[in-house]
Amino acid sequence: MIDLKNLTIRKARVALDAKKFSAVDLAEAYLDEIKKKNKELNVYLEVYDDVLEQAKVADELIAKGESFPLLGIPLAIKDNILIQGKKASSASKILENYVASYDATAIAKLKKQGAVFLGRTNMDEFAMGGSTENSAFGVTKNPNDVSRVAGGSSGGSAAAVAANLCLGALGSDTGGSVRLPASFCGVVGMKPTYGRISRYGLMSMGSSLDCIGQFAKNLEDTQIIFDAISGYDILDSTSINDDTYPKLLDKKELTIGVPWNLVNGEGINQKTKENFAECMKKLETLGFTIKDISIKNLEIALSTYYIIMPAEASTNLARFDGIRYGLHKEGKNLMEDYKLTKGAGFGVEVRRRILLGAYVLSAGYYDAYYGKADIARNALKREFKTAFENVDLIATPTSTSVAWKIGEKSDPVSAYLEDIFTVTANIVGVPAISIPSGFVQIEGAVDNGLPLGIQFMAPHGGESLLFEVGKKFEGVQ
């Protein structure tokens, strides 16, 4: 029996290379676990039928003496990242039977290392949401408490890692879709600097915000996946390389900025505030200097996000028209084909955002909304640049509270407000990570309590700082 609960990518690598167990043994252990738990949790939309064959190929390579960090490591992939020959539906009816005709760059890189793909994970339809309640194929349940959401939009990937249904997972993060579910499920989730991991083969939502990100149980594993999938890619026109941003100086002592105004503001749960304050004390003990910072336009970030994102999404989703792939509904003429296909294929939240995006981009409102949001985005970028002249990292809680009850946030604005801490990193384009910061007791919740996360943001290109602070913080958790 392989102890999946305490297994990490690093430990599995050592065991595979030492032939303590084979990649097939490992894959079988995960398939068994998935069989036991997936029905209840609804983490995987599909478990691939060639998992053991993939594992066999990995074993053959291991037998030849090959070793890559992810060779034979079972991973879960969000349903909006393409793997050639496999279905990729974005948890939408409009792509329910779509089969990808090429590999995303991140997938191609994982394949090169011989990683094993277990299956595709549930998500909010087209990554629009923070809870997977917007999936066309049912909600993913939180492994810590099945009456609660796993967070979203990459809820399936986060829950898969938390419930030991994979060793690591890919998600995507447009406004917090990796970090929020990581926080809700109690795992590590990271979004890189915009452009650091190629978006080629990731279904676009908000193109200027979208990032592929990764989930793992700890910092070391998170870094292993990041190292495997990051890097310049000619197939992504917004891809960056090591020279895009100035190199950060090696410093012995790091300063962490905290926008206390926002953290202690309205709408943030008291338990979250307490947990965060404790984290800051621990970081101080670890030798970090904590500094209060004020970012004037931080409170406007959420409005900025909920203008830019739907504007870009409404443009990107125009391509799903039932003509070249995906669902097709037959009408009397071409226009009717479009309308019926989109009407039948898109869920409620997706329609809402498409219409909202069309509205903020329409002639009469463009200047008041989209134009203004673009200006606010620049202001925020400038303010972050200034902030990072005085501090090395910025810390906030990842979420306002613990995972909410399924069905609790039925009106859209109340769900949008949950993104308050996470959207800024996407607007500005900086890397950010959510790290488990302990369990808190909440009235009406399970006895063990529910997980919370702490978020760190670093300057552009500063992923190494996130790993550094993360590993130190993890050591005292």
């Binding site: 090429y102 003509i323 792939y325 989109k342 909202l356 009106d411």
Partner: protein
Amino acid sequence: MDIKDVSKLAELARIELSEEEKGEILKDMENILGYIKQIEEVKVEDEMPEYNTYNVWREDEIRNENSPEASKFSAELIIEQFPDSQDGFLKVKKIL
């Protein structure tokens, strides 16, 4: 915003919506717009939108089909995804 605006947007976005759903979307949109109108408070005197536009595409070039950078797309895989096709072509209804 009123129900006519929702109909107009749905028409532009080519999404078939029932009257009932239009009503629901109108309510949601009013709430969302009520929230995002905070954007009006942003002081913009010293801010200009920045359009950092430059050509990110490479120049066209002819590539040997055996080169590692040649396209690995398979026409078969793409055609298989067409809802309707004939002789390897995508079939659509009359456009004009």
